[in-house]
Structure formats: C-alpha cells, structure tokens
Symmetry: C2
Subunit: 350 residues, 2 copies
Amino acid sequence: MNVIELTPPYLIFLGDVTTMTYAKTGAGLAQWRPELCAGQLSLVTGGVDLGLPAMTVAEAKAQGVRSLVVGTASVGGGIQPSWESTLVEAAEAGLDIVAGLHVRLASNARLATAAKASGVRLVDVRIPPADLPVGTGKKRSGMRLLTMGTDCAVGKKYTALALEAAMRDAGMAASFRASGQTGVMIAGEGLPIDAVVADFISGAAELLSPDNAPDHWDIIEGQGALTHPGYAAVTTGLLLGSQPDAFVVCHEAGRSQVSGWEDYPLPSIDEIIQRTVAVGSITNPGIHCVGVSVNTSTLAPDERRPYLEQLERELGLPCVDPLIDGMAAIVERLRLETNSASAREAGAAL
Amino acid sequence: MNVIELTPPYLIFLGDVTTMTYAKTGAGLAQWRPELCAGQLSLVTGGVDLGLPAMTVAEAKAQGVRSLVVGTASVGGGIQPSWESTLVEAAEAGLDIVAGLHVRLASNARLATAAKASGVRLVDVRIPPADLPVGTGKKRSGMRLLTMGTDCAVGKKYTALALEAAMRDAGMAASFRASGQTGVMIAGEGLPIDAVVADFISGAAELLSPDNAPDHWDIIEGQGALTHPGYAAVTTGLLLGSQPDAFVVCHEAGRSQVSGWEDYPLPSIDEIIQRTVAVGSITNPGIHCVGVSVNTSTLAPDERRPYLEQLERELGLPCVDPLIDGMAAIVERLRLETNSASAREAGAAL
C-alpha cells in the first residue's frame, strides 16, 4: 500500500515527435529534475531536443541509467509500432519502462515478455496501486500547502513546482507532491488521484504527504476546482486528504467560463478562497490562503502589473505571475509562518 | 454507457444463512419490491424466511423467473463452496446471476463456463460499467430529490425508498434511484457510485436520473456525508451530478461522532443543510431542504416526539421518524412544490 515510485536516473524517450507540444512530460522532467535526467533518445533526425546528452539504450545502460521514461504523447494513446523495438531493448537491458499511456505497457506482448525475463518493472503512472486505504482524517506532522484553482489547466502543477524550487532556494525544506500523471513522472513518485476509485480519494491523498519534520513543507499539486461540474469530487477528496495548512489559488487572467463547460461562469478567486476554507477546515481548521498565482499571458504587457496590484488590494494577499515575478512574495509569507510554527513548537517543548 | 440493469422476476437465493442480519439485501428486495420477487431458495432447514414461496431452480424456471439474486452476505466476500452447484444450475437453466460480492462472479470457473454456454449474464452490482462519462453539468428535465446525511448509515436509502412509496401512494410520479449496491438490487438498476473512478463520479450521478417528465420526481439514494473525512468526495460528486431541486437530511438521534472516525464530531443537521445548499447550488441554484428524516430508535419512547418537535421549531422544516410518522409531512411539501412547478410550466406554455 503505497504511492507509485520511479527509479532514477532516467533516459527520456522522445519517440518520433518533432514538436515540443507533444513532449511536455519529457520537457517538464528536463526543466524541473535535470539532475535525474541522464540523457535523451529520439528515433528521428530533427526530433525534439531537451538539451540532454543523446544516448542509445546501450550507452544509457553503461552510464547507470535505471529507467526509460516515455516523455511524449502518442497518437491513439498506446505504444507506437515504431517505438516497440527500443522499449523492448531497454527492458532487456534491465531498465524499468515508465509511461502514462492510455493502455497498460504490459498489454504489449513483446514488452511484457522482455520485462518478465529481465525482472524489470513496467510502470504505468496513470494506474493507481491496488489496496488504497479510506481516508482516516488523522493529523500528520509537518506542514502542507495545496494549490487550488478556479478551473482546470490554470497552473496548479507549475505553481507547486515553482514554489518548491523557490522555497529550496530560500533554504526551506520543501517537497513537491504529485497528484497527476505528469507530476508523478517529475516527482518520481505520487498518485494519479483522478484515476483512484471514489471511496479512496482522500485516503490516496493522505498517502501523498506522509508524516514529516515539523518545519518541512509538502507542496501538493492540486486538481480540478471545487466549483467544477465534472471534477469537483476529485478536488474535494484531495483537499480533505491533504489537510493543507496553507493554499495558493491559481487562475488564468481573462478566463470567464469553465473551459469546456461553457454553461458555467468561472468562479471568482475570492469564491475559491471561501469554498476552500469551508471544505478544508473539516480536516484542518487552520487552513488559510497565502497567495494567488496568475497566468497573465492573455493580458497586454502593460495591463499585467495593474491587474496583479488591483488583485492584491482586493484580497490582501501576495498575487504573482510566477513566470514574471517568481514566487518570492509567497515564499516570504510561508517562511514567516514556518518560523512562527517553529517558535510555537519550541515554546511547547519548554 | 449506461447503468447496471437487472431482469425480473427474481428468485432470491439465501444460501445457508439462518439470521436476517446476513440477508439484508434479500429482505430489502422482499420489502420494497415484492411484486418482482417470485420466490426464495434456502439451502438449509431453518434458513432465513422472507415470506416468499420456496422454490427450486427448476420450479423458478418453470414459473418464468429470469434472475437468481444472491440476497445474502458471505463469509470472506466470495462464492461459498456450498452455493456453487445451485448457482451453476441456475445459470445452466438460463437465469441471470446477480450478486454484490467482493469478487467477480466470473472468477468462479464453473459459473463462468455455465453462463457462457447458456448466454446468461453474470451481474456484479459492485462493479460499475466501463466508459462512464465525465459530468456535463447540463440541466435535465423533471424534478429530483437527494437524501443527504450527517454520517454514513443514518437511513439515506431507507428514507429514499419510503419517500418513493409514500409519493406513489399520494398519486405522484416518483422513482427511487439507487447509488449503492443494495439499492441497485432493490431498484433493479443503478450504479454503485462509491466504486466509480474519481473523474467520473458526477458523470455517473448524471446517468442515474436522466431526463424525465416535468412533474416526475427522481428520489436519489445519497451516500456518505459532505463533512465525512473519508467519503465526502463521493457525496460531493453525487450531489453535483444529481442536481437535486430538493433534499432531505437523514440523521440518527444521539449520534455525536462520525461512526468509525472518533476524532470527528458529528456535524449538526443545520450544518449539513448549509453545506448542501453551498455545494448543490453550483449545478442547481434552486436547491433547498424540504425535510429531515431521523432514526429516533436510540431515544426513550417518550423523548421521541419532543425531540422531533424541537427540531421542527429550530429548522422550520417537517422533521419525521419514517418508522413512526411515515413520510406524509415531507410528501405534502413536495406535492405542493410539484403543483407550483406544473402551474409555472402551464403558465409558460400559454
């Protein structure tokens, strides 16, 4: 009973894709976890280049690579015929094969046979482990932050990763915790929470951020939105199981409707703050908002600063575009909170 | 892409159980759908008696029975060795086999072979159909009521079934809609919503109560509680997908903690009303509470009436114990609402 775990270092497999749009997972790994990416393997000339050393399976094996990670989307969602011999070669060479395809890796007979023969794992990051627990609601040690959103695809994963990086730069103990398949590949562990059976959503969320040191922050990747007509159940279970002390609301400036659900107007940031506190306080009465992270790329360049300043005045919270401002303002607030918590902890120990 | 459906009439299979506690599903069927239950089959003398005609598989077949329904729980959750030959005989005779066991019926090789040979279905009511949709949030015609709860096991299924019966007695069009395995067996169709993958909870809930006549009420069986640390995600998705116009809160008098989650105090009925309106209004702004259904069996007989009267004064809503008072007070309120809605409909058509 545990989360999905990958074994680094990785060889990032890029198949035959030639545009970055189809290699987002590989690009995310190279951006956020370069120290775990030993090399890249493209099957074509003019293929996507993540800036990693190009290597064959044999070279990767010789350099100690432990897993081949499929870093591309595929037409139809399965293993492309052109990929098969390379994946089989990697499995035979003793590398785990990791992918987030719509079909199980083991459904490819040659790959299944090769993996069995060499004792490597075929890791499907879309498929949660069996035997997940029901949520207990019990408090865990350490501190937690969850990214919430006004909608899907508003930067919840990016914000969590940027927060982790900025907090580590500031000397704080922070771990990104992945709740979606791309996040799981980047973090090297986690659970695709949207694929968990309903009864176990908050239990799975509890597994994502286990007990930790008192001043350690888990920065948990959010999913969906509490007001989303399709996905709010996922968001609710993730919120209750995460038991966050703090949350950041993510938003895309100018979006006015739920993307793909055009009958539904987008909730305001303030509505998301209020609903997050109302639901989150069930399992953590101390929950509060520490900032807002906005993608302002849809605004004209001279509108961005006034937009964020207006938002700060309305909400009384640091409001940043992570690509422009970085995360310093939100991290500073968290740092102060961690110091206060440590002081309380020390006081309690006297 | 649809709900699970059973084919009546039924032969209720009671295995070798001798106490009603282990035959709740069979008892529920005999109580709420006697017209669909042709007979019962017990393997032992002194077995549970549901008051139905005792019959063998051959007799059931001769009388036109279409499905054998396993109406008992089983030790270990699977097909008991002592059951096997009867279930195989029924499958060979052309009866569907229906059960809510923890293992798939088809995992029994003899039964799988018999079912395949005679072309009958093995229906596992714990297992949702594949290819469920994501919730659309689109409004459907007809009216809907969902039973909510302060906790699990506070009478949400019973209240929904009692409401359906009372509404039909009052000449209203009403259909019980099942969201749990026992409910699915009683209704003859439905979905075990707690077994659905997270992304599809509200989509599954939408399938449960499709478009209907304007004055028709779907009475939907609720699950969990919006404040439950383990199951609130299920409750949230069911609420959003059901889009209820009305809801009834179910409660057990005297319960002070979430059953099995002793760190969590039970929410008040009023808190559940407020939270249900807050979440339910996302997909149906007209949602409102029409009554409270309380199991008062934990109170002394002379405390029950004062308890319900006090609750009515506090909440301004009909508050009943369905076993003592029946559902007349709540049905009367719904009847008035249906008449108003029909009047509005007629007015709009002029």
